[in-house]
Amino acid sequence: MAQVSFANRQVSCKIVYYGPALSGKTTNIEIVHQKVPDNHRGELTSIATEGDRTLFFDFMPLDLGNVAGMNTKFQLYTVPGQVYYNATRKLVLRGADGIVFVADSSPDRFEATIESLENLKENLAEQGVDISKIPLVIQYNKRDVPGAVEISLLQSRLNPRLIPHFEAIASTGQGVMQTLKTLSKLVLDQLNRQYGARSIAGSAVSVQMKEVSLNAKNTSSAGTGKAPSRVDSETEKTIQAVSAVSAATRPTRPAQPRPVRRAAPVKPAASRISPPRSNKKIVRQVRNVSEIQEPTERHIGRALLLLFLIFLLSGGLAVLTWSLF
């Protein structure tokens, strides 16, 4: 289960490599450890037997860096593949946000691979997770083995839903990074759906309104009162985007026309006028509005549109008045 902390501006997700014994799970993570730049990863920790067979798990933290203001991290785990370590696999699988199923293309491991996928399904179900709902990719590893099982057969037995799949030779690194990259994208897309701007009624608009007020702030001068500029084009785009979001979240409401009462275009100037005082008020009100729960979504939308119009009208009026005098 991904951990989100708006306090630390951090997101942390768990990715698990699953598959039958000796399919290449640990090799995958070792290759990732080799190829990812040092500043984007931590050390690889392996809890293994003396024979280098995974006993509990392998673990490596990955740091994707700043993604839209959130420090995004992945924790990569592998599970022990041997059949009698099922209890341990369940522990490691707990809270997984995404899974790479590493299938062994060796013909003598075909049945074990199928059983491992069934085992994954069962272990997830035991934790109340539907395998079809969790981000999952399949890696057909060991494609260089003589007599490797045909992809079409593997697909028919392992991937009837046609989820993303990759051919790989993990020992050489082939296919490893592409597999992880695709799964990472799936995991972050799901996170975005759960925590993104549209996930809470009104919040999408509140986030954009903050950007509007910030843009307006950025266009202000230190009160020099010199020649005004037209409304910042980024602000205008943001306003349009927010209007679109507002309309989208309330499909029964007719689309609002783009406000036309704006400052008349003038020569661009080095300095700009201060934004009208109402901007700050708008942000405060929107912030309060965004904390209101879903049942008042319709009222939030109407209030926000009215605030938009007031903001634009007052801005335009201020510029017009300035230009006249």
Partner: protein
């Protein structure tokens, strides 16, 4: 399964006010108990926050190991007929670590050395855990007030290319 589903539905999202309260509780505990550091980790192995002398430890790895260790002993507890062990203690020659359950979904890992005693750590950690449970319960009930940025999905691609190659 129901409990798992409940934990997923009531996932914790942390805000500045939560972190400030947790860090205040940690600071008070470290001063009273003389411990070296304290880490709050969720059961999935994610580090929530930490305080004290943590520079020598890789926090991500410690968090994963703490969670894994606790999970393994929980299974042992179930075999013995217990729901779970709420407290684990590992003693070292110079430094020791105590793991304690905090609510349903979090663990606290306390590292201390010979300058303090196990009894003192246990005494104050019990109080600290009670305060943390209260903070986390309030955090769980709070409706989500922030969201990821609108362009989060778009920026992700660039970051992934940078880390995994284009």
């Amino acid at each position: 399964m129901d409990k798992d589903q409940q934990l997923r539905d009531e996932r914790l999202v942390f805000y500045r006010q939560d972190m400030e309260k947790i860090e205040a509780v940690f600071q008070e505990f470290l001063e009273l108990s003389g411990s070296l550091c304290a880490m709050l980790v969720d059961k999935d192995g994610h580090l929530i926050t930490q305080a004290g002398h943590t520079m020598s430890y890789d926090p991500d790895t410690i968090s994963a190991l703490v969670a894994g260790s606790f999970a393994a002993t929980c299974e042992m507890a179930r075999l013995l007929g217990e729901e779970e062990f709420s407290l684990l203690f590992h003693q070292g020659k110079k430094e020791s670590i105590q793991l304690a359950l905090v609510g349903d979904r979090s663990l606290i890992a306390i590292v201390f050395d010979v300058s303090t005693t196990l009894g003192l750590v246990r005494l104050y950690s019990a109080e600290m855990v009670a305060k943390l449970v209260d903070i986390l319960e309030k955090a769980k009930k709070r409706p989500q007030a922030e969201t990821l940025a609108v362009n989060f999905g778009a920026v992700v691609d660039d970051n992934l290319d940078g880390v995994f190659g284009g």
